[in-house]
Structures are given as structure tokens and as C-alpha cells.
């Protein structure tokens, strides 16, 4: 059976942790954001075999998050999504759609919904 681990990290250490995982043979499984008060809780999930490892960190609304797309190439897709839907400012993505991956009627709907 697959095992799941949840590791809390700091935004500053994110790249470092990601690099470690990469060299440890992990692949990117998913990245997601959950709206919390005045910020977002980000969960980046990595897999090795059938095992899962989540990196979890919480950022304030204006905290810049650095992209891990240079380490895990497909990450830019998730990051653009998190940027577009949750308004998390993510920097240095390999491909930056500049808020146009999802051209929604309401900008950053998840964030907007929460603050109203």
C-alpha cells in the first residue's frame, strides 16, 4: 500500500526542498491551493513509486512564491492555475500566461469569493 507523508515547509526553503526531492527521484504529482483567511495554504505533492509526499506551506496574500518549474518542468501548468484562480503571485515560471491561462469572468475567483 502507498504511504503518505505531509511535511510542513517554509516558503523560503521551498526551492531547496524541491531540489532535494528532485535528486531523491521524486516526480511532481500535483500542486494545489486552499483558501484560508488572508492567504492560501499550498500543497505540493510529490510521488516516488506509489508513495506520496506533500509539502505544505501557507502564504499571505502578497507573499511572492518562487516557481519550481525550473526543477519540475510541468509545474508551470499548476502554478499558472494557482496564480489565475487564487491570485497567488508566483515568480519566474518557465511559461507565464500572465493571468490568461483561465480567462475567467471574475479574476481570481477563489480569492474574490473568500474576501467578500
Amino acid at each position: 500500500m502507498a504511504e503518505t507523508k505531509l511535511v510542513a515547509v517554509d516558503v523560503q526553503n521551498l526551492l531547496e526542498e524541491a531540489t532535494k526531492l528532485k535528486s531523491g527521484g521524486y516526480r511532481l504529482v500535483q500542486m494545489c491551493s486552499t483558501r484560508v483567511k488572508d492567504g492560501n495554504e499550498l500543497t505540493y505533492s510529490f510521488g516516488k513509486g506509489y508513495d506520496l509526499l506533500h509539502l505544505r506551506f501557507t502564504v499571505g496574500d502578497s507573499t511572492q512564491v518562487e516557481s519550481i518549474s525550473h526543477i519540475f518542468p510541468p509545474a508551470y501548468f499548476y502554478e499558472n492555475e494557482i496564480h489565475d484562480l487564487f491570485g497567488v503571485p508566483i515568480e519566474f515560471m518557465t511559461v507565464d500566461f500572465k493571468g490568461n491561462l483561465y480567462r475567467t469572468a471574475e479574476k481570481t475567483p477563489f480569492k474574490g469569493g473568500d474576501s467578500q
Partner: protein, 150 residues
């Protein structure tokens, strides 16, 4: 020979869940075989008579739907297939759903069902086809008096 004997179809997937989408495709396959009624799935708006659209409308696909609609020559009919296309369906409360197809273009026939059954799609197409003849007559009627005056 009536327009209704040769309705060519264009299918576009708005924001459907694919359920209706694949049912539309299924109606063209051997078991339902829409081609019995002369229907060809053209894939090119400029050759289409029936605009068959599944799924609701969101802000990103609204201009696309409108543009494709404009590129279909008259007379044309629009068939909204599935509850999503009718009124937004189960997604109508989603932040990015503007509603059914009638939010951006006029809809002639609504086909209910989630997903719409192939039989229902066939019924819908057959009802739409009758409208084609009617619209053609209206067009002729609109031209004739104008020509008479000139």
C-alpha cells in the same frame, strides 16, 4: 428538394462535461447513424446548417461560439443539447458559467437530458430541420418584396 433533406451539422463543445458531447458523436455512429437523414458532421461552420452545441457558456468560449455562429451561412438553426446547454445545468451556479447557450446566440431547439440521449438528439435534429425550411421561406419572402420595389 427541401433544405431539410440535407442538414449538415456542426458540433461545438462549450463547457460540457463530455457526457452530451460523446452522445452527439454516438448519434453519428452505426447504431444511431444520423446520416440516414442526410446529416453530415461537417466540422466546418461555413458548410453547416445546424449548429449543435453542448455545454454551457463561459466567458472564454462565448466569443468563440458567437464567431462560429456568425460564420454559418443562413438559413441556420441552433440546437442546444443537454441541460448544461439549455440553462447551465448543474454548473449554473459556478463562477465561470454565464448560463445556457441562449446567453450568447439565439437557440431554436432545446434538447433536455443529462446526458441527452441519442434518441433525444435525433428528435431535436428532426425538429430543427423543419425550421430550416421555414427560415428559408422567410428569407425568400424578405427578398421578394424588396426586389419588387426595385
Amino acid at each position: 428538394m427541401k433544405m431539410s433533406q440535407s442538414p449538415w451539422l456542426l458540433h461545438y463543445d462549450g463547457s460540457s462535461c463530455n457526457g452530451c458531447d460523446i452522445e452527439v458523436l454516438a448519434t453519428t455512429t452505426p447504431v444511431y447513424n444520423l446520416e440516414r437523414f442526410g446529416v453530415i458532421n461537417t466540422g466546418n461552420p461555413k458548410h453547416a446548417d445546424i449548429f449543435l452545441i453542448t455545454g454551457g457558456i463561459n466567458s472564454q468560449n462565448a466569443p468563440v461560439v458567437k464567431q462560429i455562429y456568425d460564420q454559418i451561412p443562413d438559413p441556420k438553426v441552433v440546437v442546444a443539447v443537454g441541460i448544461c446547454a439549455c440553462d447551465g445545468g448543474i454548473f449554473k451556479e459556478c463562477y465561470n458559467i454565464l448560463g445556457g447557450v441562449d446567453k450568447v446566440i439565439p437557440v431554436d431547439i432545446y434538447v433536455p437530458g443529462c446526458a441527452a440521449r441519442p434518441e433525444a438528439i435525433i428528435d431535436g435534429v428532426q425538429k430543427a430541420v423543419v425550421l430550416l425550411d421555414k427560415k428559408r421561406q422567410q428569407m425568400d419572402a424578405a427578398v421578394r418584396p424588396a426586389a419588387g420595389r426595385a
